[in-house]
């Protein structure tokens, strides 16, 4: 293929790495001789090269060479031109290109009387230049380029009187030189010993013809010779080990003499010859075949492969035109080396496969897991613990970081929902304070505490109904009032050192004589029945208790008014800002003003006084204050954990991902926080998903696929990337696959199936060897639907049978259920052919197991037994479901009965022939149970073997298992309406509408 054209009847290519597209051509015409430096850019459309430098020569150029030499002095190397007058000129290519006046470095003259016909630099020692003319000479320019040392190759002269037509340095052994002469003789010289070592002569050769000569660049004993002989235009390859005759002869292609030969530097199998007949032939000497053959319309004088541009060569015509061409490729059988990757590798999970040219085996490498600081091991242990409370305990036991330990303690309190736990976590011991109080008052207060305890998990006092308050209650109210103020005051003094006035230190009248002073006025007022006056006086003189007692005896209104007056007129910070709000039941007011340093006191008090369910809101306010006033994320996060506000927690935790360790701790926390968070929050899901993905990426990068799968299992069902990774980890071929498949439910395929279309197969010959005869069917649905159809029918029957809410649960929980399939079909838009963004995620197709479990649990109340075999279908991947809690985790709750039934049926299914048809299910009920028992016994042994796996499985299933328990909890909690409220339903898509 013609690429570019220029002038010249011979050319030589640059050997520069960075300037591989430079070509020097020699133009000999009536105006004299000139060397042209051609540059070309294949990326440009123009068909001619650009001349970037010229050198004018006095005499006609008869041969050319270009080699890198003394890079510092001649950065672009030396161009050597042999002339018709028998001398050689050396030019500095760099100065020629830069158009400097004198680019000629040296003239080596007095060589020959006739023209210089051949010239070649030694590639190993470019200071050695082999020359051909009347005889063979070597010029050494190492010492003095101006006056090089010139010597012959040795004696005797093999060529006698015949003129030399070609010289060639051996490409492997630097002191071996070959030369060819017009009489058809080829000689090989050993320059180390200065003598000829080999010669051969083609018997058919006639004299006065050009012989071309080149050493094989790969095999140093082989030499290619081409004859410009019309009768026998042959290309021969001789091996010096076999001097009897040429090893390979290529003939019959060229119609006329071959006068140019080039051995391909980029693929040593290839040789290019050009003839007087205008043919350019590319030969593969290894396969002894013609790779390409091109007929040009001019007599070829010279051709050369580009040294560095693959597939490109230059051709010069006798009449002075030079063109740059590329080897036509793709037509014939032989692919040139530069297109054939000799080496390559590819990765999949924890393995890499690689091939190398000289080896027909594919080597597979395995990549080890890495676990810096045992982070992943610990994470797996954490995840294999089976319930939230146990995870919390696990972390409390193991956590070394104080900061995280504190979070876990708080979560522990949240999870236990016990006031004492809360107080203890906040740093207050009920027992200790009670003790102190008793010491002070000499009275026992523990009875009240016991009452609280009996009411169990009611971390608040019964509300005082002002209308119906009994004397006893009133009494204890005042006692409490006093005690609290005293104990709190002590704390305040010690812990906060805050300078506030003390209740008792106010100016309280010490007068005990009720007949004088203000006491008399009070008494008089009482006498006349002016109670309000008496109250006012009592308040004013500091007899607050008396005032309140009086007011209490009057009416609710007066009492409240008095109390209000009393509380608002206090100057004591504590009384005014804390006690007042406790009494008036405005706990949120406390949080607004409470000293942040002592937020734990505040939290504890709110916990005590809260009867409006505001605890969480108040903790949230406190947390917000920490952020707003102090930017204190540590304390804010504690508040938010108590507030059970997942969104606010994650807003802080989202930044806790600076290191893998931190990220892991964060994920562990969030797994539990997610469970107890009160509100559903898209933001939480989004943030949590991004953290999970980040963690999963780390885990996968360390080849910790189990950890990645564990974490991804907690992602939201909307996170397409997580679904894809989970699918990849579940089905992918890696070291953790077995364990993941045993402990996890099979995730649904997170992509839309699509059918490949038939194209037009044009070449009949191009059939695969094992092509089956049957045509490609083009079903409109994926093949899996065949199975689904059957299943759908059964599913429908089942639903009819149920006619209750289970229909919903079954539909949503079955990853292959009809609704799911339908949504997938309807809601996934056909991915645009070239999406700029990634294709839309399939809409909530069968969310990962853990996310649906709550839903499932809710709908699972007493499912009729016949349902079970169908329920299990979605659980099929469970290979060894746990029946007993694993011994390792003694705290694990036993699986609730419904679950157990389910598991049994699963096992049954595994070892049973296909299920009977649905309509007969009821009759089968009894036999099923019998079978079930049998199977159960058989299973026992197997289970014991698989105990280890069960542990992990249980952790994945734990949500399912604990859900019924949690639900009970929820119910009790709701009835009591006490803080902290239960974790609400979250994560897991809304159930699709029941199928009609």
């Amino acid at each position: 293929m013609l690429l570019k054209t220029t002038q010249g009847n011979m050319s030589v290519w640059s050997n520069l790495k960075s300037q591989s597209n430079l070509l020097v051509s020699a133009v000999n015409d009536q105006w004299g001789a000139q060397l042209q430096f051609n540059s070309f850019n294949l990326g440009q459309k123009n068909t001619s090269t650009s001349i970037i430098g010229t050198i004018s020569c006095k005499d006609a150029v008869t041969c050319l060479a270009w080699e890198n030499f003394a890079q510092e002095t001649y950065p672009m190397g030396l161009v050597a031109a042999g002339t018709s007058e028998g001398y050689v000129a050396l030019y500095d290519a760099n100065s020629a290109i830069n158009q400097e006046e004198e680019s000629c470095v040296s003239i080596i003259d007095q060589l020959y009387e006739g023209p210089v016909s051949a010239i070649e630099f030694n590639e190993f020692k470019p200071n050695l230049i082999a020359l051909g003319g009347q005889d063979v000479l070597i010029a050494d320019i190492i010492k003095d380029i101006q006056n090089p040392q010139v010597f012959g190759p040795g004696n005797p002269n093999l060529h006698e009187d015949s003129s030399i037509t070609a010289v060639s340095w051996n490409k492997k052994i630097l002191h071996i030189l070959a030369s060819a002469s017009q009489n058809g003789l080829t000689g090989v010289w050993d320059l180390r010993n200065n003598k000829p070592i080999f010669s051969f002569q083609d018997s058919s050769a006639i004299s006065n013809k050009k012989v071309s000569l080149l050493w094989n660049p790969e095999i140093p004993t082989q030499i290619a010779v081409a004859y410009d002989d019309e009768r026998a235009p042959e290309l021969q390859i001789w091996d010096l080990r076999n001097p009897q005759g040429p090893s390979i002869v290529f003939s019959q292609i060229h119609k006329s003499g071959i006068n140019s030969l080039s051995w391909c530097p980029n693929d040593h199998s290839l040789l290019l010859t050009g003839g007087r007949d205008g043919q350019v032939v590319c030969w593969n000497y290894k396969t002894q075949s013609v790779v390409s053959q091109e007929q040009l319309d001019f007599e070829i004088a010279d051709l050369k492969w580009s040294k560095r541009v693959t597939s490109v060569y230059s051709i010069s015509s006798v009449d002075g035109q030079t063109s740059i061409r590329s080897l036509p490729c793709g037509k014939e059988g032989y692919a040139p080396k530069w297109l054939k990757p000799p080496v390559g590798s590819v990765y999949a999970f924890d393995q890499m496969a690689a091939f190398k040219e000289n080896n027909s085996a594919i080597q597979v490498y395995s990549i080890n897991k890495s676990d810096p600081d045992n982070i992943f091991e610990n994470f797996n242990a954490y995840c294999s613990v089976d319930a939230e409370q146990n995870r919390i305990q696990f972390e409390i036991d193991k956590q070394h970081d104080q900061q995280y330990a504190q979070y876990w303690k708080l979560l522990n309190a949240v999870q236990k929902e016990d006031k004492k736990e809360y107080l203890a976590t906040l740093g207050f011991s009920v027992k200790e304070i009670t003790q102190q109080t008793e010491n002070y008052t000499g009275k026992r207060h523990s009875k009240k505490d016991d009452q609280n305890k009996k009411k169990n998990q009611a971390p608040q006092r019964p509300a005082i109904d002002f209308a119906t308050i009994t004397d006893q209650d009133a009494d204890s109210f005042f006692n409490d009032l006093t005690n609290q103020s005293i104990s709190k005051q002590q704390q305040t003094n010690t812990s906060r050192n805050q300078d506030v006035e003390i209740f008792q230190s106010e100016q309280v009248s010490k007068n005990t004589n009720w007949n004088v002073g203000v006491e008399k006025i009070i008494k008089d007022n009482l006498i006349v029945g002016n109670y309000e006056g008496a109250i006012d006086c009592a308040l004013k003189c500091g007899r607050s208790a008396e005032a309140l007692l009086l007011a209490y005896s009057q009416s609710k209104e007066i009492f409240e008014q008095t109390m209000n007056t009393f509380l608002t007129t206090q100057t004591d910070y504590f009384l005014k800002n804390v006690l007042k709000h406790i009494v008036l039941k405005h706990p949120d007011e406390i949080a607004k003003n409470y000293e942040l340093n002592a937020w734990k006191e505040c939290a504890a008090m709110v916990l005590n006084s809260d009867n409006t369910g505001q605890f969480h809101k108040i903790m949230e306010q406190l947390g917000d204050r920490f952020i707003a006033e102090r930017k204190d994320e540590f304390n804010a996060l504690q508040c938010f954990i108590l507030a059970m506000n997942g969104e606010k927690c994650i807003k802080i935790l989202i930044n806790h991902n600076k290191s893998l360790k931190e990220l892991t701790e964060t994920i562990k926390l969030l797994i539990v926080i997610q469970e107890y968070s009160l509100q559903e929050s898209e933001l939480f899901d989004r943030y949590f998903d991004s953290l999970i993905l980040q963690f999963a990426n780390y885990a996968i990068q360390h080849n910790q696929y189990l950890s990645a799968a564990y974490a991804l299992n907690f992602s939201s069902p909307d996170c397409q990337r997580a679904l894809e990774l989970l699918d990849l980890l579940y089905r992918g071929n890696h070291k953790d696959r077995n364990i993941i498949q045993k402990i996890m439910e099979k995730p649904s395929f997170p992509f839309k199936h699509e059918q490949i279309k038939m194209g037009t197969v044009k070449q009949q010959s191009a059939q695969p060897v094992h092509a089956p005869n049957q045509p490609v069917s083009r079903p409109t649905r994926p093949a899996v639907n065949q199975n689904q159809e059957d299943h759908n029918v059964r599913q429908q029957i089942q639903q009819n049978y149920n006619q209750n809410t289970n229909a919903n649960a079954a539909a949503i929980n079955n990853p292959f259920g009809p609704n799911v399939a339908k949504t997938a079909d309807e809601q996934v838009p056909p991915p645009s052919r070239r999406p700029v963004q990634k294709p839309n995620p399939p809409v909530k197709v069968a969310p990962p197991p853990n996310q649906t479990k709550k839903q499932e649990a809710q709908n699972l109340q007493g499912p009729p037994f016949p349902n079970e075999p169908f329920r299990q279908e979605q659980q099929q991947p469970l290979v060894a479901p746990p029946i007993q809690p694993p011994p390792k985790h003694h705290v694990a709750p036993p699986p609730p009965p419904p679950q157990q039934q389910q598991i049994q049926s699963i096992q049954q299914q595994q070892f049973q022939p296909p299920l009977p048809q649905q309509p007969f299910q009821q009759q089968q009920h009894k036999s099923q149970i019998n079978q079930q028992q049998q199977w159960q016994q058989e299973q026992q042994q197997q289970q014991q073997q698989q105990q280890q796996l069960q542990n992990q499985q249980q952790s994945f299933n734990q949500r399912t298992q604990q859900n019924p328990i949690q639900e009970n909890k929820q119910q009790t909690q709701q009835s009591k309406a006490i803080p902290p409220p239960p974790a609400p339903q979250r994560r897991g898509p809304p159930p699709p509408p029941p199928k009609k």
Partner: protein, 274 residues
């Protein structure tokens, strides 16, 4: 870090030119100069399939996304692009005959949309939705295209060529691909380009100049790292998430495989293995 675990007897009569794992890493396909595709089950360590096309060397392989089943595309020196699907056996679904050698093929991630690079510098796009008709064909380079690669989301296609250039083509919906970047850093033939499997704008390239270059595609192309391997770089492979990078090269007829690991900011450093 890498330990030799097993050898698969490739069954090829001559050079292997490409190997590819399928999506889940269960199957490994190889193709070579003998014109065969051999498919092995990696776990069972046995050959499970074989496809013969013609005697022409097969240069490149690409597995489709599994949502289409098991689909393989390959391209040959004599210019045939073929697509096979595994039913009971492997059967040819479609083929396209190009004038010259087709050196590289790759399915767009998640789609049956095949990009092919030819020796005469063309990129050919074949589309399942058009029954494998040519969706678009254009002269991307003036010389042989040695490698091409889709980015993770399929919005960009990088091509590299013997013209020393890397070009990045942007695909927007219903428009023909548009040239977005041209990278001229390499001094010689660029043999391979690979996008980072997680980062849509990180691209690595290597070729005959022996230099591995890591580029960041932003408003402009920024070269963020250069490592000189002093050998012809033939193929570059990322692992699943791009934290390992393997360079396959050749120097003086000797194949070499070197592995790098990712440090911060997509810098890679050599690790001692093999």
């Amino acid at each position: 870090m890498l330990t030799e675990s097993m050898q698969i007897n490739s069954g090829h009569q001559s050079m292997i030119h490409d190997i590819k794992y399928d999506y889940y890493g269960d199957k490994l396909a190889s193709c070579g100069s003998d014109g065969y595709i051999n498919i092995y089950d990696v776990s069972k360590k046995q050959q499970v399939g074989q496809i013969k096309i013609r005697d022409s060397p097969l240069f490149s392989l690409s597995w489709s996304h599994p949502r289409f089943g098991n689909v393989l595309a390959t391209s040959s020196y004599d210019g045939e692009i073929s697509i096979f699907k595994e039913q009971k056996d492997w059967m040819k679904v479609a083929s396209f005959q190009n004038e010259g050698s087709v050196n590289c093929v790759q399915f767009m991630p998640r789609e049956l949309f095949l990009a092919c690079g030819t020796s005469d510098g063309f990129v050919i796009l074949l589309d399942n939705n058009k029954n494998w008709d040519v969706d678009y064909k254009w002269q991307a380079h003036e010389s042989t295209i040695h490698g091409l690669c889709w980015n993770y989301d399929g919005s960009l296609l990088a091509t590299c060529s013997a013209d020393k250039l890397i070009k990045i083509w942007e695909f927007t919906n219903n428009n023909k691909p548009q040239l977005k970047y041209t990278i001229q850093q390499h001094l010689d033939v660029v043999k391979d380009v690979q996008f980072h499997p997680l980062e849509n704008n990180i691209l690595v390239s290597g070729g005959d100049d022996g230099k591995l270059r890591i580029h960041r595609l932003d408003d402009d192309v920024v070269e963020i790292q250069l490592i000189d391997f002093h050998m012809t770089i033939w193929r570059i492979a990322f692992n699943m998430l791009g934290n390992l990078l393997t360079i396959n090269g050749e120097i003086n007829g000797q194949s070499q495989i070197q592995t790098l690991k990712q440090e911060d900011n997509y810098q890679y450093s050599q690790i001692d293995c093999n």
